[in-house]
Amino acid sequence: MSGSDEPLLEVSGLTKHFAQNDSLLRRLRPDQSVQTVQAVDGVDLRIRDGETVGLVGESGCGKSTFGRLVLRLLDPTAGSISYRGEAVDEFDAAALREYRSHAQMIFQDPFGSLNPRYTVRETLVEPMEVHDIGASSAERVQQSTELLERVRLGAEYLDRYPHELSGGQRQRVAIARALAVEPEFVVADEPTSALDVSVQVEILDLLGELQEEMDLTLLFITHDLSVIRHVSDRIAVMYLGNLVEIGETESVFTNPSHPYTQALLSSIPNPDPSATPDRIPLAGDVPTPIDPPSGCQFHPRCPKIVPPEEWDHDQRIWRELFRLRTRLANGEIEPDAVRSTLVDGDERADDDAVVDALYRNQVEERVGNATDRAVPDSAATVAREALAELVVGNDDDAVARLEDAGFVTVCETEEPDLTTTEHGTDVRCHLHSEATRDHPDRDELRERNREKIL
């Protein structure tokens, strides 16, 4: 399925920020500010002629926005898109219209992507009219019939309305519409996720066949890794508007390098036993892209977060203590609730007892779930001190106590660069970035940490 090496589409630094609750009046009022959502944040990607690239990520990670940017259905905030060497981001209306005859989109929801008042005929003929395909109406209708046959529907569907069709049939019509302009490049945005499982397979097969028949280049957007393995030549994994791993499908599946990719892969049911180890649970939810985490944006959830080098113990223990720090900083731990539970249970409920209880369920149990090693004494002391600060109401000091003790990581301070791994995949993670290892800032950090308790 692989095509030549020439890039059909090249995207660099592509960024899209949405303003929330924006309006003229709001902008004029000094007491109101406009929040921005960083949906796509500086993405670089090259798509070669004839290949299928799978773009994967959880919902809300910006992958659909990315697909729309590439087609200029949305205008980028920054960055460039070039299609066969032409700057798509600078196209005027006429050039954009021309571009639309090369690049098309298949939408996620076949119940929403067809005009309810258009018959199938009207839906298919319209794009041909826009791009002057076919000399007469008769010819266009003829071509529509051929398109319908291509997507395994027949001419008898020409005069149906969307409400007379099933989900799968609608999606076929939507695919036919995208193909009506004879495009080279198609963005398929979750084309199967709104369909029944049995229909999903049919649509996937159809897309695969069409891709070969018509020599299409495909950007396949999905949250479902199991789908993508069968259709894509390459995979790009997206997290909070950034690409964290890009590589050949097989390399990524057999040797996922980014902790996020590993977690995603481990969540596929019935994994290839040789390729993926046990399920890696992700902590928490996807953070909002309104105020994304610093450094590596995955760090609050990352199971492999990098401890400072001075940490000689199990990484998992360090990770749990780091997460304790995050929870303290977010005000997620409520000592009063613990205290009232103790009171209700007729137990001792002075400050020490509360600290003990907190330590047990915030540290000991969690570490116990992650590993069978015990928390080293020095770390346990720091954690208790921090919790004690929390119990007497000094939330900020609690966080500071942990920070001072070295529970800080390069993952939250520095954004990792894209690095090529031994498996030929590009990964954005400190575990793989050599450059960061020798970073001067990092040396400094190490020096500072030496003097501390750890």
């Binding site: 259905l73 005009n115 791009h131 007469s136 109406s137 939507a174």
Partner: protein
Amino acid sequence: MTAENVQRPSRRERIADRLRSARETYGRMGRASRISLWLIVLIVGAAVLAPVVAPYSPYQENYDRSLQSPSVDHPAGTDLTGRDVLSRIIFGTRVSLAVGVGSVLLGVLLGVPIGSVGGYFGGWIDEFAMRSMDVVISFPALVLALAIIGVVGGSLWNLILVIGVVFSPQYARLIHGEVLSIKESEYVEAAQGIGLGNVSVLWRHILPNAIGPVIVQATFHVALAIIIEASLSFLGLGVQPPQPTWGVMIADGRRYLPAEWWISVFPGFAIMITVLAFNLLGDGLREVYDPQLVDQ
């Protein structure tokens, strides 16, 4: 174009489509609104065929028959100058419908483009369009109409113009909201994605899907416009005599109450029935277009 011979059946098909969807709508309406629909057909027929249907000329004075009570000759009696009240009511239908339909049409023609363009393009265009509509809407409709008519004087065309302008912001708002929600739908994105221009997207994809509530509102507004016309005519600010209108007839007949009640009561009935018919039809259409509203 060579397409000519192909185009024709497709146009016929389109008309067939319209008919089919109209029949569908009719099929889904309740009994009350179906009856109203036929009543409206009857009223419109009376207006169009007034010279044929009316037993007398509405202007023909006959002092021998002044102030006759309803009889076989004059089913709705006669007025002071002996004019046949029924004939005048039938001819009055013309003014009422002209004002009702004309002003609503004008309101739609003004409001829908303003609201839909604002909603579709957003930004300062939207702010400007909708804020200016807000200014118009902030006056009570009848008071505004009264004030303008007071200045420009009453005539059929002035009435249509004024009531149309007064109604237009409501259509602007209605369509604005619809367009805002529909423009987010994927079929609109798809239409943009195939390279269709903004005007075509708005005209072919958004408006046909947004117009339902406007049609419902228009039906109610026809009734309201008829009432406004009658009120203004009653106050002598509407269509000028001797042109028969229901409002003027009620105003004239008021002086002969209660003895010669037929002069004002029959035109009153005419207004009531017409308004009721349009309102019931509006209700019926709303149920068809917006089933959720009825569930609530």
